[in-house]
């Protein structure tokens, strides 16, 4: 082990939380609170409160620890779940896929060896990492949270600094409960007013990304604010923060408020009694001070947002469902070459109408839209109607808890009556590591977060939309404005 190298770095500041600026953003408050020390060039050693792991990006990190002959520094701060490559059927049977099975076994083994809480397959709290963390009250305002998955940004909905990391960084957190990070820039996106009917949080964020572009927020951490954000439920705020990464942001954050506190209260791992009271007091101190400064600020009106769908191969290539694919001379989402490449892949033409395009697959699920609210929305449209025969649908709850509640609320029954089958929780067709793959050339409408080439299987063509828009397509077999149903 090359421990000689480590004495080299010079530490510039210790605990910079002693530096008090008068006006701070919520981001500053949390970040400053977690700086252990600052290295030359400004890189911070950032303390991590909560670390989530899953089977795909953690095995190599544990292997690294083993080779170094060291253990996990703070096992109580890491929580594990199996989600990325689990099947969505017959989860009680051993995984057919050998490599996937190995990853699940390794995760279990590593957690057991190091004393890490693990919500494995077939346990009541299992589910997608970004669904279970909030749902169980493990994610709390004011925390720093990381996970080897880019959509860790989801947890920002609770007023946390949460972001995705790579496996080397997973190893850093396991080894020391800290990582090395450069402070990102600060951006605020304000959304004011009341959105129209049939417009969801998913449409809001797709609208924003279509304007900001897929890398427009690169280098920034984005605070979402304004009356339209404040009026959102926690689950909707999660959908927004979830996709902040899709405009290149390091993460998204929403200040905690009464909506947050009401959601937190009584969750299995949320603070209780006296702890709750002191936590609440701390949480209330977090929101951005008036007049705090941002490096960049953008403004949107909720009333401008319509149900959105994507037509290209990144989440910034989106437009209103009633709209048209742009003409070449009108694009503002990158170069003409990438526009042409995307349309060729999707087999679409410039200027084409989107409504009415035939759909083969529907995916309801993922850490973007796999929560109760999403299932309720989907069921509200399909109730009393039938699934179109041309459509194959994967209806995948984000967690065991969501699955259970859907049954209890009668949502499962409504879906089954309409010809849908409720699957078991996992990431499923969001990244198609399991069997839920969209075949080459087929069109899917997905409530997940990425429409990259081949994301849902080699040659698959993904259109992103809200649970309502997905439900409308599932009934008609075509892209359909959900407001017309």
């Amino acid at each position: 082990m090359a421990l000689t190298s480590v004495t080299y770095y010079s530490i510039l500041f210790n605990n910079s939380n002693t530096i008090k600026l008068s006006k701070k953003t919520i981001f500053d408050k949390i970040w400053d609170n977690h700086v252990v020390c600052t290295l030359k060039g400004g890189t911070d050693v950032l303390y991590i409160d909560r670390h989530y792991i899953h089977e795909v990006t953690s095995p190599q990190a544990f292997e690294g620890l083993r080779l170094r002959g060291t253990g996990v520094f703070r096992p109580g701060r890491t929580t594990a779940t199996a989600d990325h490559n689990v099947p969505t059927k017959d989860q009680h049977l051993p995984l057919k896929d050998k490599l996937g099975r190995e990853q699940l076994e390794k995760l279990e083994e590593n957690c057991l060896e190091h004393g890490i809480m693990h919500f494995g397959l077939n346990t009541p709290y299992n589910g997608i990492v970004h669904v279970i963390g909030p749902e169980l009250g493990i994610t709390r305002p004011g925390m720093t949270i990381v996970c080897g998955d880019s959509h860790t940004s989801t947890h920002g909905a609770f007023g946390t600094i949460a972001f995705g990391i790579g496996t080397s960084e997973v190893e850093m957190v396991l080894a020391s409960q800290a990582i090395l990070q450069n402070r990102p820039g600060k951006m605020r996106i304000n959304v004011e007013g009341i959105p129209g009917e049939g417009v969801t949080a998913k449409d809001m964020i797709l609208h924003i990304i279509s304007k900001v572009s897929t890398n427009g927020a690169s280098g920034y951490f984005v605070e979402f604010a304004g009356s339209a954000i404040e009026n959102l439920s926690m689950e909707s705020r999660m959908a927004i923060c979830n996709m902040s990464i899709e405009m290149g942001a390091r993460g998204g954050i929403v200040a905690p408020d009464e909506v947050t506190f009401a959601y937190m209260k009584g969750r299995p791992y949320a603070p209780k009694g006296k702890d709750w009271d002191s936590a609440l007091e701390f949480w209330k101190s977090l929101p951005t001070d008036n007049d705090a400064e941002f490096d960049m600020e953008l403004f949107f009106k909720a009333k401008d947002v319509q149900p959105m769908v994507t037509w290209g191969t990144n989440p910034g290539m989106g437009t209103e469902i009633t709209g048209k694919i742009p003409l070449e001379r009108k694009i503002d989402c990158g170069s003409i070459a990438s526009f042409r490449k995307a349309l060729e892949y999707m087999n679409f033409s410039p200027g084409e109408k989107l409504e009415g395009k035939e759909i083969d697959y529907v995916f309801l699920g993922s850490c973007t839209n796999g929560r109760m609210e999403d299932f309720r929305a989907f069921a509200s449209l399909v109730k009393g109607r039938r699934k179109s025969d041309r459509v194959t649908a994967w209806i995948v709850p984000g967690s065991k808890q969501v699955e259970k509640q859907c049954r209890e609320e009668g949502i499962t029954a409504i879906l089954e009556e309409a010809g849908f089958e409720m699957r078991q929780p996992g990431c499923s067709a969001c990244l198609a590591m399991n069997d839920d793959k969209v075949p080459e050339g087929k069109y899917a409408i997905a409530t997940s977060n990425r429409n990259f080439e081949g994301r849902q299987g080699p040659g698959s063509r993904t259109i992103l939309g809200s649970p309502l828009t997905a439900a409308a397509a599932a009934i008609t077999g075509k892209l359909t404005d959900p407001r017309k149903i």
């Binding site: 030359k40 690294g64 995705g164 790579g166 080397s168 850093m172 590591m433 080699p458």
Partner: protein, 197 residues
Amino acid sequence: MPTEKLSTITSTCVPLPSENVDTDQIIPARYLKSISRKGFGRNLFRDWRYDNEGKIKKDFVLNDSRYSGSILVAGKNFGTGSSREHAAWAIKDYGFRVVVSSAFADIFCNNALNNGLLALEVTEKFLEDLFERISRDPSTEVRVDLKEQYISVLPVGVPEKFEISPFRKECLLNGYDNVDYLLSIRDKIAEYENFSR
């Protein structure tokens, strides 16, 4: 584990002018089912390199014998998408030591640097010129000098300065390993825990 040191590299380049090359293209999710860090180079750009039957796609640059080298030159916003470090592992495993672009996705950039793969950001103008030079002459060589922080197209190009955080530069030049460093300051981290919690 300490990585290979990196200081200067002179090499021909492999050009990939597409913008927004995402991590699902660099290494599709179905090839992430491994518990080791090795062997991902085989599936680098899998679906651009091979068709569904596993046949080589002749028109993709990695299958074009005119281009080779340890420098990958990519369009703007390279590495967008997922946090999978497998993307950086695959590029390194394939044999690249440097990726040049006019912008990188944040997480990819960290992942690359943590593996001794230099993600080198240049201006759009420089990138455009570089693509043009390479397409005119695939044997064009580029020199990267990490210590002095410049990149130049040989033999006559004007050297362009590039930015890198001093900390990252130190790590790459010496092959330092950040986990080792953090392990060595565990006491300090414990002190922070006592002090602030």
